[in-house]
């Protein structure tokens, strides 16, 4: 296989581009896709102070690396979720990445700073762990950005992530979620601006970026997320992608191009009544004097005795076994 650009030996084949690339021109292609996303959706300016939400996984470390590579000023924020060894390892990857490059990284620990962790929050509130995790991270990224005076929060959501969420929203015809599934959320009502520069790059391309750039990241999947619905949507889309390369890009980028404008009036109409949480001051959709969902989660979780990740996994396995037995009967 030869590189489409220079005809040198290729290191990767990308069926959706009907092309193969050497290392140098693969990186060039990735940079151009990120620059196009940033430009087309007016995500970032070179003068912006950027806060990157980092997890130690391939996407968040890659987007941080790319932004620095492209000349942006970007600091990192890592939230220690307390998911056993997985969290300890992912924190190590993140800290080594930042140290080796002299980048500023802030670490917030759910257990040390707020008195809970994700397994405990899941048990204490009855939320599925991924819901407690997502809600905690969103709140803490928003807070860190506002408190730190950052202009924008960057997340490492890639094309596969966005296509899978779109697929899930479309399966449920959740019109409000569809209308808000945009790569840029402007700053409003006390929330910081949030952007997703990787929407034009696939999960495989992001992992390849890390290998080529020598970025060590946590390859193992979060033990709690393994087998969740979101991964099932990705696997389903990958079956279509293998048969018809370019399907995921056409689906999601076509949505942004042709469907999102149709839904724009719905996106603009939602969430106008926002009041500050009476405990932490963060914006919340409740009535005047109400407490935000994060503060309610902290209150219940911090009062609960610590729950191990193994206990949550055991419960998850027994629920799946029961569902499987019902399906077979």
């Amino acid at each position: 296989m030869k590189c489409r650009t220079c005809r040198g030996p290729a290191i990767i084949d990308l069926p959706r581009h009907n092309a193969n690339f050497c290392a140098e021109h693969f990186l060039q292609m990735c940079r151009r896709q990120v620059e196009k996303a940033i430009h087309d959706h007016q995500m970032l300016n070179k003068s912006d102070r950027i806060l990157v939400a980092v997890s130690g996984g391939k996407d968040s470390l890659a987007v941080w690396d790319m932004l620095i590579d492209l000349g942006y000023q970007a600091d990192g924020l890592y939230v220690a979720l307390g998911i056993g060894e997985y969290s300890e390892e992912s924190r190590g990857y993140t800290e080594r990445f930042a140290d080796e490059r002299g980048l500023k990284l802030t670490v917030v620990s759910l257990r040390d700073d707020y008195g809970y962790d994700i397994p405990t929050a899941s048990r204490a509130t009855g939320r599925v762990p991924c819901s407690a995790c997502g809600m905690s991270k969103r709140h803490l990224f928003d807070k860190a950005a506002i408190d730190g005076g950052y202009d924008v929060v960057v997340t490492g959501h890639n094309l596969d992530d966005e296509a899978a969420v779109l697929f899930g929203n479309a399966l449920r015809w959740d019109v409000e979620y569809l209308a808000r599934q945009l790569p840029v959320l402007p700053s409003r009502h006390g929330f910081p601006k949030k952007v997703k520069p990787l929407i034009r790059l696939s999960e495989r391309e992001m992992a390849a970026w890390c290998v080529v750039r020598g970025i060590d990241y946590i390859v193992d999947e979060c033990p709690i997320a393994a087998g969740n619905k979101h991964i099932g949507f990705k696997e389903a889309l990958n079956v279509l992608e293998e048969k018809s390369p370019g399907t995921k890009a056409s689906y999601y980028l076509g949505f942004l191009d042709r469907m999102a404008p149709v839904l724009a009036s719905i996106a603009a109409s939602g969430a106008d009544s926002v009041t500050p949480c009476m405990r932490c001051g963060a914006p919340t959709g409740g009535e005047e004097g109400s407490v935000c969902a994060f503060c309610r989660l902290v209150e219940r979780s911090a009062a609960h005795e610590p729950v191990s990740v193994e206990l949550i996994l055991k419960k998850s396995r027994s629920q799946k076994r029961a569902q499987s037995e019902v399906a077979q009967s």
Binding site: I11, A23, G134, E203, R204, V211, D220, C222, N238
Partner: protein
């Protein structure tokens, strides 16, 4: 060749030579959700893998949002 698989991490031995695409197909692993790495370097789909190679097949799907 020695093949290292992830999630969970394990090693298997494959007899003889294979092309990358052939190895993935034989193991039932979709190309769209895996990278093949030899000595820290990516290997494209039509490359032939030698019987003495040590190969990592790395999944790329992640589930956190």
């Amino acid at each position: 060749m020695k093949v290292i698989l992830r999630n969970p991490r394990r090693e298997i031995e494959i007899e003889g030579r294979r092309r990358v695409h052939g190895l993935l197909a034989e193991l039932g692993l979709p190309r769209e959700s895996h990278l093949v790495i030899r000595n820290g370097t990516l290997v494209p789909g039509d490359e032939e893998l030698d019987k003495d190679d040590v190969i990592e097949i790395r999944p790329v799907i992640s589930g956190g949002m």
